[in-house]
């Protein structure tokens, strides 16, 4: 689909960005992204994608809004307490940009829904707190060969990497097990999760519009206490339970 004159006017400031341009903006308009859990990380991420004019967002987020969500889940509002979080996500994103399509799923990623959710998207953002959920999403992205942007944070630190199945380490290369004793709730300031969210959004926008250099085979580490950003090289695990048996299409035997 071509950009309308109205859209050219709305996205003018980013169309001026070298490498993005009208072609990139049109690619964004024709793209679909899945954001799983639209909380402290997924909320500001979805907000930036919506503002940038990504054509369609699929949002998966279960549960009702709680008081303890409000320090970071910026798509939730005080009048939404006790009501489904996903309603507020949809309403607030459409207020921000009524031109995009939003499809919602009122539950988190599960064995039952993961296949369908991933299959509809060009790009997946993993914003879930539980490793079971993240590793499930990773497995499905490797199976369907879909790119996955993985962001995470803890307290005053954050990390980010872009996973291209077959070319980069997958999440199970980094975390071959669910870390024992990991809890869904952990210390974090909303501005830290929002920082990681916006860095993840930038990775996604570059990937979909086709410009810039991606954080592939590298992980960005952010320390908000010292304001240090560093990048480290990460490697595929030869015995990875998820991606080690995966062969890129060119290497596959004809059927």
């Amino acid at each position: 689909m071509e950009l309308t004159d109205r859209e050219r006017a709305i996205y003018e400031w980013q169309i001026w960005v070298k490498g993005l341009g009208e072609t990139g903006q049109q690619k964004l308009k024709n793209s679909t992204a899945l954001v799983t859990r639209v909380g402290g990380l997924g909320g500001p991420l979805a907000q930036s994608l919506a503002a940038a004019g990504l054509g369609k967002l699929i949002l998966a987020h279960g549960g009702d809004t709680k008081s303890s969500d409000l320090n970071r889940q910026i798509l939730q509002t005080h009048d939404q307490l006790g009501k489904p979080r996903i309603e507020s996500c949809r309403r607030r994103l459409l207020e921000l940009n009524p031109r995009i399509k939003i499809e919602t799923c009122g539950e988190n990623v599960t064995e039952e829904n993961v296949r369908g959710l991933v299959s509809e998207a060009d790009l997946i953002f993993d914003c879930a707190p539980l490793f079971e959920e993240r590793l499930l999403l990773n497995r499905e992205c490797v199976r369907q060969q879909k790119p996955l942007v993985d962001a995470a944070m803890f307290e005053m630190e954050g990390q980010l990497t872009t996973i291209i199945p077959g070319q980069t380490p997958c999440l199970a290369c980094l975390y071959p097990e669910v870390p024992p004793g990991w809890k869904r709730e952990f210390p974090v300031i909303g501005a830290v999760s929002a920082t990681m969210a916006n860095l993840a959004a930038l990775e996604g926008l570059k990937l979909l519009a086709g410009f810039g250099e991606l954080l592939t085979n590298r992980m960005l580490i952010f320390d908000a206490r010292s304001m240090d950003f560093s990048k480290i090289a990460i490697q595929r695990r030869p015995d990875c339970p998820v991606c080690s048996s995966y062969k890129p299409p060119a290497a596959q035997e004809p059927i």
């Binding site: 402290g40 490793f131 993240r134 995470a152 870390p179 024992p180 999760s193 990048k231 090289a233």
Partner: protein, 111 residues
Amino acid sequence: MLQTFHGPQRLLSFFSQVKITVQLLGQARQLSPSDRVVLNVEDGSSVDEIVPVLLDGASDSLRMVLSEGTEALQLRRSVMAIHNDQTIEPATRDLLKDGDALSLLPPMSGG
């Protein structure tokens, strides 16, 4: 057979200790009284060999985050060992030199 051209200093270093600075990140940083620990370890030690020295006297919660194994503690496989801006294999010896820094990054998540 020992060869003399290595000089006395080289011979001494065979049995010497080196100083490694361990920087704790994420959950390990939160659970430890200090972010940075300087350890004296045997020259050539792998990360797996440094872990028991690091965790000597540490709290159970820090042990659970960083290590696995009961007989001999080794680095938990979901914790990244970072040296010179790359992840290194915890079992490999002779990667860390005197004065080097090693960062340990436990898993973190969204939410």
